[in-house]
């Protein structure tokens, strides 16, 4: 019996180094009376040392034991620690249910959790009594009770599978779990499937390796992006005979793309690289077209301008035509003379006007005029 319970305590004690702020104390309540063997301490050696030479009493004073335990917890050094009592009830209980319930209520009032391990002899309704005690003290499942039937199983093995050891949202069992750690650490929800309470070093190692892997991947992605950017810039330099503005826009867009690429994964980076390569080809071809045919581009750009140009070309032609028309009109003498007659202050017979007309027209015509003038003169006389 002693061996079993000793092992049980040892397993419990092994949990505590997981949280350096835990403290554990041990007391016995059988035999001569309640004795505190170890006041709450984080020194594991002291706890194990006291396990030697434990006596087995015939009856245990459960209420006194719990009360003394409560007192010991009250005088704990770190007041922020939560209080928990784990009772290994091996011997029969001599107290009645009512007393136990009162004790349970008192524990609940002072927010002390209670874990009960019922083993050994079970008579006098011991399980029921302990259940009543458990019901009185339980507050939001912070307390647990385990009944271990007598049998070949070792006590420690049975206890390991119970919630006492697997722990609940509070972060496992123990006389004291640091409340500050519970608030800050976020104990519910363990990363990497490893309970940081049970094995903080392993949890830390896993987390560090995860971060290292992530950093390595990011560095690799960044490197791939840089290499792709270098290839792009090389392609740009090869195409030297390009329009200045187009090249500038290309180079300015490449860094922008690089920045975006840093955030992309490798796959996306490869795809983007391909897309960029394809887009690079197109500007190259259009560049040539633009360089050669400025006018066509201009016309393409400005349809109105093109129309205007065309019209101006046609107008030139028309002007030429109109000029020729004008000369023809002037050649028509009768037309000219009729115009001259209509003009006020102009005497067609005036020799200066005639000379003017003659100069405008061809010599043959002027000769005709002179002939006509002669005829007129002759007519007048």
């Amino acid at each position: 019996m002693v061996m079993y319970s000793e092992r049980g305590v040892r397993v419990l004690a092994n949990l505590y180094p997981s949280n350096p702020e835990n403290t554990v104390g041990v007391l016995t309540m059988g035999g001569k009376g309640v004795r505190v063997l170890v006041t709450p301490t984080s020194d594991l050696g002291k706890i194990l040392a006291c396990m030697h030479g434990l006596e087995i009493g015939d009856e245990m004073n459960l209420t006194a034991g719990i009360q003394v335990a409560q007192l010991a917890l009250k005088h704990r050094q770190n007041k922020k620690q939560q209080q928990r009592i784990i009772v290994f009830a091996g011997s029969p209980i001599k107290y009645d249910k009512k007393t136990l319930e009162a004790i349970g209520r008192k524990l609940k009032k002072n927010s002390v959790s209670l874990d009960i391990v019922d083993f050994g002899e079970s008579d006098d309704g011991k399980p029921e009594k302990l259940e009543a005690l458990f019901a009185a003290v339980n507050n939001n499942d912070s307390s647990h009770i385990v009944h271990v039937p007598p049998g070949p199983n070792a006590l420690s093995d049975v206890l390991i599978s119970t919630p006492i050891f697997t722990g609940d949202g509070d972060g496992g069992s123990g006389f004291a779990a640091a409340a500050a750690a519970a608030a800050a650490g976020g104990m519910s929800g363990f990363d990497f499937g490893v309970d940081p309470n049970i094995d903080p070093e392993l949890a830390l190692a896993l987390r560090v390796s995860m971060e290292e892997e992530r950093a390595r991947q990011e560095a690799a992605a960044k490197k791939a992006a840089e290499e792709a950017a270098k290839q792009e810039k090389g392609g740009e330099q090869a195409s030297s005979s390009r329009d200045a503005t187009m090249a500038e826009t290309n180079s300015s867009s490449a860094p922008a793309v690089d920045d975006k690429r840093h955030n992309l994964t490798d796959d996306e980076a490869a795809l983007l690289e391909q897309a960029l390569a394809m887009s690079m080809d197109d500007p190259k071809s259009t560049n040539v077209a633009v360089a050669d045919t400025d006018m066509s581009e201009a016309t393409a750009d400005d349809h109105e301008l093109a129309l205007a140009l065309q019209m101006s070309v046609q107008d030139n032609e028309k002007d030429l035509q109109s000029q020729s028309e004008m000369s023809k009109v002037l050649e028509d003498q009768s037309f000219v003379s009729s115009i001259l007659h209509s003009l006020p202050g102009v005497d067609p017979n005036d020799p200066s006007v005639k000379d003017l007309l003659a100069s405008l027209q061809g010599q043959s015509e002027s000769q005709q005029k002179q002939n006509e003038d002669k005829q007129e003169n002759e007519g007048d006389e």
Binding site: K74, K79, R105, K106, K108, K109, N110, S111, N139, N140, A183
Partner: protein, 176 residues
């Protein structure tokens, strides 16, 4: 026992809810579904449907630390007539008290509430005893009707600060 003078709050006194250090607020023997926030926190305390309730028995032990040192002038407790508290003991600057400790020290002030107080009338305290308060412990010993459960809808503390430096306002000088 101090007289339960129900005077209006002097204008210099402020509601001390802004100076409560919420990380350290504790309440022993409170029911999980009806917790201290219902009675103390802004918004919750004004909702009469939300109240603080005791669990195992009618006593409650409320521990309120402050972010800075304050002077406590008066307190308002709003509660139902039957289950509201009757005897209330206040302890200044006693950390982490338990129910067994309440009889070990004399309280800084002890008040007996009448039904008028429970409607929301403030109770003046022994101001001289609360001149430099870092934390306040409120012990509800029993209730008006002698019931097993005590209920409180609202607790408001009135007082002033002692003009200490608020560390958050300090700005680090840039070192060259």
């Amino acid at each position: 026992m101090a007289s339960v003078a129900s005077a209006p709050i002097p204008r210099s006194q402020v509601d001390l809810v802004d100076f409560v250090d919420w990380r350290g607020v504790e309440c022993l023997n409170q029911s999980t579904s009806h917790s201290l926030d219902n009675a103390l926190k802004q918004g919750y305390r004004d909702d009469d449907g939300l109240h603080l309730e005791s669990d195992a028995d009618e006593q409650l032990l409320i521990y309120i630390p402050f972010t800075q040192v304050i002077k406590l002038h008066s307190i308002t407790i709003k509660a139902p007539e039957e289950e509201g508290p009757k005897t209330v003991k206040l302890f200044a600057n006693k950390e982490h008290m338990g129910f067994s400790d309440v009889n070990d020290y004399p309280p800084s002030d002890s008040i007996a509430l009448c039904p008028e107080n429970l409607k929301g009338q403030p109770v003046n305290l022994k101001y001289v005893k609360f001149q430099s308060v870092r934390s306040l412990t409120i012990f509800i010993e029993d209730n008006q009707g002698g019931n097993d459960i005590s209920k409180i809808q609202k607790i408001v503390l009135y007082g002033t600060t002692v003009d200490t430096t608020n560390m958050k306002d300090l700005k680090k000088i840039e070192e060259h």
